[in-house]
Symmetry: C2
Subunit: 273 residues, 2 copies
């Protein structure tokens, strides 16, 4: 069976996916099977502002941040992620000769899981409040059979949140962990999580403090702050799910995919304690 790679390209500010998309076209031409997962947070922020509903974020007591997603926000989220970003990427990939198929996690029941019925959020004054109507959750199951149907037919899936809750409601999910769940379900050889940081930094302010090879999960867990926490969790989930190698790396530069594959970034490989 040919090599299978799951590549996640973040949707944060300043990330331009074009170089990575060109590389993905090259990989597909060379016979590598690729599943691309992307975010869209910056486009969602812009659209939310333009529509007069500035984004708000939830910070959990343990320091995870996530978008506050009520029903109206979810519609804006779908417009940005599934409309603007997904179709833009599909158009670019197809023009580069890739038989791309853009899907959200709700299509074909690709990504399903539990919605969070109560989210603890720490407000600006340090008080903890409980939010019960947030449309967010976590991917627990991946319809890998459908993805294999597409891959076996020579197609390249381009996947994006939302996912579907067990009650049949679209929900916001973390795209890094969704990519990790996808890589695990497919038994991918490699998972690349590319964004606007070079990897896990010992000091988030110092890009030279990159952890290059993960020898201790405790160390990366301690180092990871904010959104990086989800990437590290995703990396752990992918590894324990059977993925051979995970790299958290940068989406920037002329060859971000090749760079990550050659080990630029934070590399998780093999048995890590």
């Amino acid at each position: 069976m040919s090599e299978l790679i799951v590549i996640k390209i973040g949707g944060g500010e300043g990330i331009k996916p074009d170089a990575a998309l060109g590389e993905i076209a090259g990989l597909v031409r060379a016979g590598v099977r690729v599943v691309l997962v992307h975010g869209g947070s910056h486009e969602t922020n812009i659209l939310s502002e333009k529509l007069g509903r500035p984004p708000t974020f939830i910070t959990s007591p343990s320091g995870h941040t996530s978008r506050r997603t009520d029903r109206e926000t979810l519609k804006i989220f779908e417009m940005a992620y599934c409309g603007k970003v997904n179709k833009g990427i599909v158009e670019t990939l197809r023009r580069a000769g890739v038989d791309a198929v853009g899907l959200s996690g709700i299509d074909a029941g690709l990504w399903t899981g539990k919605r969070k019925s109560a989210i603890r959020s720490v407000d600006a004054d340090g008080r903890t409040v409980v939010i019960r109507d947030d449309l967010s959750g976590r991917v627990e199951r991946v319809d890998d059979r459908f993805l294999r149907l597409l891959l076996d037919d020579g197609r390249t899936p381009v996947l994006t949140p939302p996912a579907m809750s067990d009650e049949g409601v679209a929900m916001n999910v973390d795209a890094d962990r969704a990519a990790a769940a996808t890589a695990a379900a497919l038994g991918a050889d490699e998972l690349l999580l590319l964004s606007n940081v070079p990897g896990v930094l010992r000091d988030p302010e110092d890009r030279s403090s990159l952890i290059e090879t993960v020898s201790s999960l405790d160390e990366v867990r301690r180092a990871a702050k904010g959104r990086m926490k989800n990437k590290v969790l995703g990396a752990e989930e992918a590894l324990s799910g059977g993925v051979g190698r995970v790299v958290i790396g940068s989406a920037s530069g002329a060859s971000p995919v090749a760079d990550a594959r050659s080990g630029c970034g934070t590399v998780f490989e093999g048995a890590i304690a």
Copy 2:
């Protein structure tokens, strides 16, 4: 082989697809294969207004109207059609037990064709101007093999514009004619074009002037005004492409799909001169 129906639900003002979606769930449960095509023009108008880019329309010398689609409009179009409307329909269908897969015409190269390199537009003063940078065109080819792959796997495709031009650029296409091309490519038993009018009217102001059974194409061609012209063209293209029966009917009421199937609307069937 089980029955195959292509159903197009318009995206015009006042159209609520929920009743039709409930019926489609019933048909799929009963073993009928359904391909759903939908529009999104009203949502695109609303989003365009909110984003400070009010929609503009082109009227051809022969009276066809179409959305003026520059690059920025196409992104708004994709957010409304592929984001908000498509994912909303997929969510509703999945909750009703349908294994829906939402796709645009650019995904998997489903809908391809020629972009119009020059569009003649009649302006308010009756002058004809030529527009060369519009991103619009017509579906000439349908990847019916991919649609069959989905249908054979028990999935229900939910399709929406844009389509892909031969040069690899996303373009606005008429969803009625795209549905007709899809029905023809699949050799569908039936094509239903449901919108906010009861069918082809002899007098557009008089809803009782409905042409019920088409015995002469000349008569419906003469009667069809504005957007109805595309529905009639689509009906003709579907029939000449081998579709057994086409009904142009209303998307309103408690059972619009059953109503159209039972002949409420304008029915095109068999050999028509």
